[in-house]
Structure formats: C-alpha cells, structure tokens
C-alpha cells in the first residue's frame, strides 16, 4: 500500500516550467484527479509519477520507496493511456492475462481467477473470447482498464482515458472505472480536463494551473469553497459570477450589495472581487430586504431545463440559474438578492475568509 509523495518536484522543458515546485501527498487508496486546462502541467506530473519523465529537481516516493530515478517498469504501476496499446491478435481475456504472465509469483490458477474476476468487474464475460480488433473504442478502453488493474499494482495511472471514446461508451467506461476502483482500492491518479468527470470519479481533486496545484480537496468542497477565483470559474456550468468590489475602511462596496459588507481591518491592499455561483443568486418580483434592482438582458435554458438569466446590475452582468423564469416586471427589471453566506471574497485572485 502506498501514498504517492511529490516532494518539491519541478520540471522544466528549456525555459518553460511545466511543473513548479509541487509538494503534495496523494493518499493511499484514493482516486485523485489531476484537473485543469491544457498546459497546466497535469500530464507532465502524471508522466513523472509513471517514470516517463524525470524531474528537474525534487523527489517522488511511493510510500517509503524513492522511485525518482527508477525506470517505469521497475515502479510496479499500472497505466491506461488515451490510445491503449493492445495485442490485436489476442482475445480480451488473453490481453488481460498478458501482464500477469510476467509475474512469477502467481500460480496459473491464481492468474485465471484474476482474469475471471476482472471480466466480471468489466461486465465483459460474454466478450472474453472476442478479439480486440472487433471491439469499439470504448470497449477497448475498458479492456485497457481491466488489464492495468488485473496486476493489482498498488498504483494505477490514467491519462485522459475517455478522450477518444463516444458519449455512450464513455459513460460505460466511467461506470466500469467507478465499480473497479471501489472494489480494488488501489491508489489512482487520473488526469482529465473535464470537470464533470473529475467531480464524478474523484475522492479528491488536485486542481492545477500554470504548473501548480491551486487546491487539493474533495469534489464538493472544491465546488462550494474554491480557494481561488480560478477554481470558482473552472468548476461550474457556467462558472461563478465575479463582481468588482471597492474597499473603504473596513467595508466593501459593490453594485450587488445594498449595504456594505464588513470585513476585517487587515484585509490588505490589492484587487477585491466578490464571487457568487449562479444558482445562489435569488430573484424576486418585489424589492425586499437586501435586494438590488437589475435588468434582464437575456433568458435561456440551461442544464436539466433550468432557467438561466443574464441580468445587468450597474456595470456587472450576473448569471442566475433558477427553477423558473425570471419574474420580470413590466419595465424589464427584476429584484436580486445575494445571500451574504454565499458571497466569497477574493483578493488578487485568492480567497479571503472574513
């Protein structure tokens, strides 16, 4: 059993710093998703854990074992790539069994038992004798998942395995992944740029940007309590609203606030921005305590038929998600309220707790 310890790891390619002094521990038995936009360093980090890249500085440990200088084959890890490499002339079962043949500690009976178990997990018993070439991309990727987990290595790495898989097969694959990881409890690192995939699969998400991990948290925590503006924007469909605020003494003023927000006196200088998720803004037809007036500029439909309105408040445009159309008055206005416990304050992009 093994934690993955990233000990002050930096990776440079020429003058470009892909991974910048990362220092973090991924816990044993967790599914950790490395999430972020392209160029954030997630793939480079995974490739260093795999041994496909060597850090420019720092160490990588699996538990107590320093693997920094070990080649991939000596690290005892499973890997699933975007384009799985398989034996086209072998059947599904034979492909899964292949890596087990190199493990001399396994008896033949044990090998067969493991292959059977994996076929069950994949729900592919019926296709056990099918050839790889006869499978669609999604099923092939399922076999790749099966093959890497069958070895029962402590650590399995996944590099955007659903990228080339069509939607229905993708769901199947994610479902399989979920079933397999819940059963086998291996330490898993899964690279993706897809927030839904990360939210759905991860025990913890490492949200990355510009070679750094900006937050490492459970999915709902990351969604509800982003530590950066970037996190508030990157997670969510659509992401968080951000509204510029002005600090006067111990109070913040902003167009969305009917009265100032009290803050600690040691907030410091810099750019202050208020963040609130579209589903946390409330719409009313009549003015009430704390409400401000806005003008509906657009109404449309979002996920699951929910109404999505854009509302201009002063110079800001606020997106509001609600289970019904905006209650627009005859003059085109609507009343908005922003519950104080849902407003997050950011200073120079980083969360400030009040």
């Amino acid at each position: 059993m093994a934690d993955i310890i990233i000990d002050h790891v930096t990776k440079r390619f020429g003058t470009f710093t892909a991974v910048d002094d990362l220092d973090i521990r991924f816990s044993d038995g967790d599914v950790t998703c490395l999430l972020g936009p392209s160029g954030c360093g997630k793939t480079t980090l995974m490739r260093m854990i795999a041994g496909l890249e060597t850090p420019s500085s720092g160490r990588i440990l699996f538990g107590e074992r320093d693997v920094t200088q070990l080649p991939p084959r000596k690290r005892n890890i499973g890997m699933v790539f975007q384009y799985p490499v398989m034996y086209p002339t072998l059947s599904v079962a034979e492909n899964i069994a292949q890596p087990l043949k190199h493990d001399r500690s396994l008896s033949r009976g044990e090998r067969e038992r493991r292959v059977e178990e994996v076929l069950d997990l994949l729900d592919m018993r019926k296709q056990a004798r099918a050839f790889i070439d006869d499978l669609d991309a999604g099923s092939r990727q399922k076999v790749a998942v099966g093959r890497s987990v069958a070895r029962q290595t402590d650590i399995v790495l996944f590099d955007e395995p659903t990228t080339n898989v069509e939607v229905n097969a993708k769901l199947q694959l994610i479902r399989t992944f979920k079933a397999v990881t819940q059963r086998l409890k291996q330490t898993i690192v899964y690279v993706t740029h897809d927030q839904t995939e990360a939210m759905t699969l991860a025990d913890r998400i490492a949200l990355m940007k510009d070679g750094s991990i900006v937050q490492y948290d459970a999915p709902r925590r990351l969604y509800n309590d982003p530590s950066t503006e970037f996190g508030g924007w990157f997670l969510g469909n659509p992401g968080m609203n951000f509204i510029a605020a002005e600090r006067r003494g111990n109070q913040l003023h902003a167009t969305i606030l009917d009265s100032p927000l009290d803050v600690a006196s040691d907030l410091g200088g810099g750019e202050i921005v208020l963040g609130i998720r579209p589903e946390n803004v409330l719409m009313h037809s009549e003015p009430g305590p704390g409400s401000v007036e806005g003008r509906v500029t657009e109404q449309t439909i979002g996920i699951a038929g929910r109404n999505l309105a854009r509302i201009a408040v002063g110079s800001a445009v606020i997106k509001v998600k609600a289970d019904g159309p905006a209650p627009v008055a005859a003059d085109g206005t609507v009343q908005l309220s922003f519950p104080r416990d849902r407003i997050l304050v950011f200073r120079n992009g980083a969360r400030v707790t009040l």
């Binding site: 740029h193 927030q195 709902r220 469909n237 998720r277």
Partner: protein, 354 residues
C-alpha cells in the same frame, strides 16, 4: 442586414440537401441552426456564402438578390467548419488576410486584429506560424479571421466544436457581445446542445434539408414540434424510447400509457431528464438501478437502468442527496411530461396527458 431564402433547393445527385426552404432572418439577429449530421446546415451556409449554387430558388441579402453573385462580392463573413490557414503566414497575417486583401489602412488592421485575437485569447501567438499551433489554437485563429470580414452578415459553421468546455463557455459570451457590438446578423450552426441553448435568440431545427421547428429556445425546449427538436435540444439529452400503440394503450420501455386518441402504431416517446422524478410517485411509477451519478456542481445527472431500458434523470443539487451508486431507486413520470412522436415522420402527436 436581413437574409432571406426563398424556395431554396439544392441537390447533390439524388440527395436533396436543401428542400424548398423558405426563411426570413431579421437584421442584427442571432439565429442558431441545429440538426443531425447531413441535415443541410453546412450546405445552406455554403449557399449563402456563394460556395455552392442552388438548383432553384433565391437568396436575398437586404432586399438584393445575390443568388448569381460571386462569393467575393457578397460581403458575408464566413467561419467554415473545416478551415485552412496559410502555412507561410504568421497568425497575425492569417487573421489580417481579409483586411489586407481589402487594402485597409495598416493601423486599422492592427487595431482590429488585436481586438479579434484578444477575444479568442491568441494574442500571445500572433507572431507564430500555424505549424507551431495546437488544433484548438488553429481553430481560434480561423474564427478570428472569419470575424474580420467587412461584412454585416456572418456565417459561423460549428466554430467552437472540439474546444475545451471552459474555453467554449467564455467564447460563447464573447461571440454574443461581439454580435451586439457589430450590429451584425449572425447565422450560427452547432452540433452542441449547450451552445444552441446559450446562444440562440432564434433556434431553427433542420432535418433532411427541411425546417422542422423554428422558434425561441423556450418554445423549442418546452414544446418540441418534432422528434429531432427534442433529440437535439437539451442537456442532458432527452430520453427517447421507441414504442407501440394499439387499442388505446401505448407501451414504450417501462411505460404504459392509456391513450384515447387515434394514434399511429409506431411511436417514439420523449421524456426530459428533469421529468423523471427519483423517489416520486405522481404519475407512472417504476423502479430502476442507479448505473452512475454525475456531479455537475449544481445538478446531478443520474443514469438509470429500468428493466433493461436506459434512462437519464437530472435534478438540482440541494433538492435531495445523490442516490448511491448501484442502488435501487423508485421513480415516477407525469404523463403530461411525456411527448409522443410519430416514429415515421417524426412529427409530434401529443402528450401522455393534457
């Protein structure tokens, strides 16, 4: 500028790509075209741009018949689905190309290229040549170039396809504001449901070269006239289940719906994910196994298996906790939330109840 298609027909051999289409598009409007592959949307755009000649009918731009005018003299900006950049020119020169061709002053070109590059977040790439760009960066360069035509009608054929979700979310906002700012008429085709919902002032659903629905997002979503409209508009996708109607009873998957109408035998029923109420008992009730729960941040999407029938349900986070993976769940659907379509023509027949 207004655009008008009058009894427009285009054949490719025996294939009817556009079937006597009549359509009037208001000046300064944002119209989104949706349809399955080969529905005719790309052909329609190529006809408007002048890259194809119609077999019959006419195209009127602001009152002038342009059917026989060459592409260079039509003043229509075009972002094609498949694009080519000039490999020997820099990104800047590629974007500037239409303006250079029109012999615009240098400082005006610089200003407009900077603006377009800023919108598409490619300012840092302006001095590079296309061979150094990723696929997404090339695509954004092509979009920027298409937007720099001296035109007041723009045709965008699935311009954001394949880009990362977060980048698309931002570009959707930018394209909308750009259209308002330019006071231009935008015709926009997309294969992505979220894009259609977010961008459209007017939504036109095409199928087999014909217009099968034309209306606001609200109307097309809540009152689909045609199977294609229900299939293509909405996220997550609507549940569509083939069924049979005989002697007053419609049977489709787990649903049995008494009907008093003169309904054809072969039908397809459509149910929006939000109409499947987990734990509900109003209407038609059944049970299902939870195959997967996706967490979208503010919505859960629940994939169910009800006696072999795959179903998708969706509801806001906070309404109730996410159901457990692989658990058994009761659910219910109100008959009035079931839309019934003729399996042959795709036309809407009615609902499961008034």
């Amino acid at each position: 500028m207004s655009v008008s298609f009058q009894s427009l027909t285009k054949r490719f051999g025996a294939d009817l790509a556009i079937d006597s289409l009549d359509l009037d598009i208001e000046p300064e409007s944002f119209t989104v075209f949706c349809g399955p592959p080969k529905c005719g949307k790309s052909v329609l755009f190529r006809l408007l741009v002048g890259l194809e000649t119609p077999d019959s009918g006419s195209i009127i731009l602001n009152g002038t018949d342009i059917t026989r005018i060459g592409p260079a003299n039509r003043q229509v900006g075009y972002v094609p689905q498949s694009f080519a950049l000039y490999p020997h020119l820099t990104v800047y020169q590629n974007i500037a190309y239409p303006l250079t061709l029109a012999r615009r002053p240098k400082d005006e070109i610089a200003r407009r290229v900077d603006r377009a590059a800023g919108i598409l977040s490619i300012t840092h790439l302006l001095e590079k040549t296309p061979d150094l760009l990723s696929g997404g960066e090339k695509q954004r360069t092509a979009v920027a170039r298409g937007l720099l035509h001296d035109a007041s009608v723009f045709v965008l054929d699935d311009p954001l396809v394949g880009l990362d979700y977060k980048l698309r979310e931002r570009l959707m906002d930018e394209l909308k504001s750009l259209q308002t700012e330019l006071k231009a008429t935008f015709l926009y085709a997309t294969s992505d449901s979220m894009e259609a919902l977010t961008m459209a002032e007017r939504l036109i659903v095409l199928d087999k070269g014909r217009k099968v629905q034309d209306g606001s997002v609200e109307t097309v979503y809540r009152e689909p006239d045609h199977l294609r409209a229900m299939e293509l508009i909405g996220f997550p996708r609507a549940n569509l289940i083939g069924g049979r109607h005989s002697s007053g009873l419609l049977e489709a998957g787990p649903f049995r719906i008494p009907l008093h109408r003169d309904t054809p035998g072969e039908v397809v029923i459509g149910i929006r994910p939000e109409a499947i109420k987990l734990g509900g008992n109003q209407g038609i009730a059944a049970s299902a196994e939870v195959r997967l729960v996706e967490d979208l941040g503010s919505e859960y999407v629940v994939y169910l298996d009800s006696n072999g029938q795959a179903l998708t349900a969706a509801y806001p986070v906070g309404d109730s906790p996410a159901p457990a993976f692989q658990s058994s769940q009761g659910f219910a659907v109100e008959p009035r939330d079931i839309v019934i379509f003729d399996a042959g023509s795709g036309a809407r027949i009615g609902r499961g109840a008034a």
